[in-house]
């Protein structure tokens, strides 16, 4: 098990809420290998969101180390973290988080925009990604013209476009009806088969059980780490 893509080493995160210090994560250690399909589960308040923010380089751990693709990102400055997010991570959110005034293809292009890719190249890649999630007919539509499932597929295309090391999904089916939810999960299965590294944060057991490995959190610590 050499060269893990994600390596958490005794990661702690504390928040100062007025006079009270809240320990959201109390020493979490785990590794994720390339191509793994993992779900992180647990009851609310267990530290899932904190874990997601740290994994997504949106926040820095209070102590411990986080290596992403072999590089320690736990003490990087804001600009460097932005670059890491743009180049190595893909995000899929519960509420899709598409920019409403941009078209489908423009939304997919956003991560490339901040990578300074040539315009034509980004446009081509965005088209390819849209086709991959089955939205080649909807390129010039605005997000509000699409169904929830379609919007989430746009978000997945956006998460794929920069060829990230890890795709992070936060309750990706939380806002969807069961049919579209199943479709999205099928899409994730396909991505896994294509060798993508996927991390799903969810409290929905049916979603979590599709992953090949489940990490359960409780009170800021790993309760169990099960492979199937």
């Amino acid at each position: 098990m050499s060269n893990p893509i994600v390596h958490f080493e005794n990661v702690r995160k504390t928040y100062q809420m007025g006079p009270v210090t809240v320990e959201a994560l109390r020493g979490v250690t785990f590794e994720i290998q390339a191509g793994e399909y993992i779900s992180i589960m647990g009851p609310s308040g267990c530290g899932k969101s904190t874990m997601l923010n740290l994994l997504g380089c949106l926040d820095r751990p209070s102590s411990g180390h986080y290596r992403l693709g072999g590089e320690d990102v736990s003490q990087m400055n804001d600009d460097a973290l932005s670059a890491v997010r743009g180049a190595r991570l893909g995000f899929v959110f519960q509420s899709y988080n598409l920019i409403q005034q941009l078209t489908v293809v423009e939304n997919i292009e956003i991560p490339l925009y901040y990578q300074d890719r040539p315009e034509q190249q980004s446009r081509d890649m965005a088209h390819r990604m849209a086709a991959r999630v089955g939205l080649e007919q909807r390129l010039e539509h605005k997000p509000f013209e699409l169904s929830g499932g379609q919007q989430q597929r746009v978000a997945i295309a956006r998460a794929l476009v920069n060829e990230p090391l890890v795709i992070l999904a936060d309750e990706p089916t939380g806002n969807l009806d069961s049919t579209s939810g199943t479709e999205i999960m099928k899409l994730f299965d396909e991505l896994h088969e294509q060798g993508k590294t996927l991390i799903l944060v969810t409290h929905d057991p049916t979603v979590g059980q599709r992953a090949r490995r489940t990490i359960r959190l409780r009170d800021g610590q790993i309760e169990s780490d099960v492979r199937r």
């Binding site: 926040d59 901040y114 300074d116 956006r158």
Partner: protein
């Protein structure tokens, strides 16, 4: 603040900036009405800067042209009727003839005592009718010397001005002011024709050019036509024909005045000496005239005063414009702050997808600069059109100096940067996690 923003811009590549500009246009276009209303403050600010400067510049240009036509190196002395109370004290002479004004002796005194004076130009002005058969013009007959045109910056349009020979021989020749030609000689050329003034005939030997200052506003000339109607004759001829006593008969009254000279113009050697010479002449005249039956006009001082007035005018207009630009800037900042709050979620998304703080700063700064820049362009257009309309409708002269649109446009751009920085910084300072959670 500015150095920070420069480093921000420098950290952003050209293509990224180009895209940011395109994105800025797009998101402003999305809220067309809001953008337009936000711009209006800047539009009116810029427009008022240019329009006010143009109108002010035009007004002062006219004033300065008029003063310049008097000659900036000249000092003009004019005979004026002394005030009533001084006339009463003079009643002891028991004379019906009112004697006042500048005398030939004054010229001699000025020539003899004041250094730095080159030429002294005397003139007599007499109100008379000039006739060409049955055509009549109420005009001012000016008896003067051959160097009058040179000193007054006027030129002869056709024919010639009279010479020393005409002076010495007291010949009956005259030069017409351009303004009276159409009334007296509507069809034929006046040169060589005769004009009757009083009981005497004068041969027309020349016509003056329309003076630049007067040519600009025909309406003014029409309003008080008589003022601009000049007929020049040699001074000696005037002296011979009219003597020193002028009689004026009006219904029921008879008035006689004894005036030797109506006006003298003193030309000073150098521009620097004008003020001192004017002082010296003033002292000299005060010593020799018991009554204040003269006035001293120093065109240079008028010019300076006009320039001072213009400066104050510009300061006042400038501050009004600055205030309106300030208000416009605050309007932009207000809208941008609202826009930042409204787009918190978008900021969070962009940050999560790789945007650095400076990318967010640039995105919002570009929007404000586009707003104020577009406002500036609209303002410049309006500011160029308004003076044009004013000069067409009100007959006022307006001058748009070439730098005023640039100045106004630059200021509006600066307003955009200055008032855009705070909202942009606020957008960039947001924590991406918080921003993503924002509803």
């Amino acid at each position: 603040m500015t150095s920070a923003s420069i480093s921000v811009i420098s950290g952003v590549t050209g293509t990224r900036l180009k895209r940011a500009v395109r994105l800025g246009f797009k998101s402003l276009w999305l809220h067309r009405l809001r953008s337009l209303l936000t711009m209006l403050g800047i539009v009116f600010g810029v427009c008022s800067v240019i329009a006010m400067l143009a109108i002010g510049e035009g007004a002062s240009f006219e004033a300065q042209e008029k003063i310049k036509s008097l000659g900036s190196q000249n000092i003009i002395l004019r005979s004026t009727k002394p005030p009533e109370e001084q006339k009463v004290t003079d009643k002891g002479s028991q004379s019906y003839v009112l004697e006042y004004g500048i005398t030939y002796t004054d010229i001699k005194r000025i020539r003899a005592t004041i250094p730095g004076v080159t030429v002294v130009m005397p003139a007599r002005n007499i109100r008379e009718y000039a006739w060409n058969i049955s055509r009549r013009v109420d005009c001012e007959v000016i008896g003067t010397v051959p160097w009058y045109p040179a000193m007054r910056n006027q030129r002869v349009a056709s024919g010639r001005f009279f010479t020393d020979a005409d002076m010495d021989s007291c010949s009956s020749v005259c030069v017409l002011g351009a303004e009276m030609v159409p009334a007296l000689f509507p069809i034929e050329s006046p040169l060589g024709k005769h004009v009757r003034v009083g009981g005497n005939y004068y041969t027309v030997i020349g016509v003056m050019e329309r003076s630049a200052a007067l040519a600009n506003n025909d309406t003014v000339i029409d309003a008080n036509k008589s003022v601009a109607q000049h007929l020049f004759i040699p001074l000696e001829t005037a002296r011979l024909r009219y003597g020193d006593v002028l009689m004026r008969r009006r219904a029921g009254t008879f008035e006689a005045e004894k005036i030797q000279l109506h006006e003298i113009t003193v030309k000073v050697d150098s521009l620097e000496a004008v003020t001192q010479v004017a002082e010296a002449i003033k002292t000299l005249m005060e010593r020799n005239h018991k009554k204040t039956d003269y006035e001293i006009v120093v065109p240079l001082e008028l010019l300076r005063r006009a320039e001072e007035t213009k400066r104050i005018f510009n300061i006042v207009l400038g501050s009004i414009a600055a205030i309106s630009l300030l208000v416009g800037g605050i309007g932009i900042m207000n809208i941008m702050l609202a826009s930042v709050t409204e787009r918190t979620r978008e900021i969070g998304i962009r940050r999560a997808l790789g945007a650095r703080r400076r990318d967010i700063i640039v995105q919002f700064l570009v929007e404000t600069v586009i707003l104020s820049g577009a406002g500036g362009i609209l303002g410049v257009l309006l500011g160029v059109v308004i003076p044009f309309i004013v000069s067409q409708a009100a007959g006022m002269k307006t001058i748009i100096t070439f730098w005023s649109p640039f100045l106004a446009f630059t200021i509006s751009g600066l307003v955009g940067v200055v008032f855009g920085i705070y909202p942009a910084l606020r957008a960039a300072k947001m924590d991406p996690v918080e921003a993503l959670r924002h509803e």
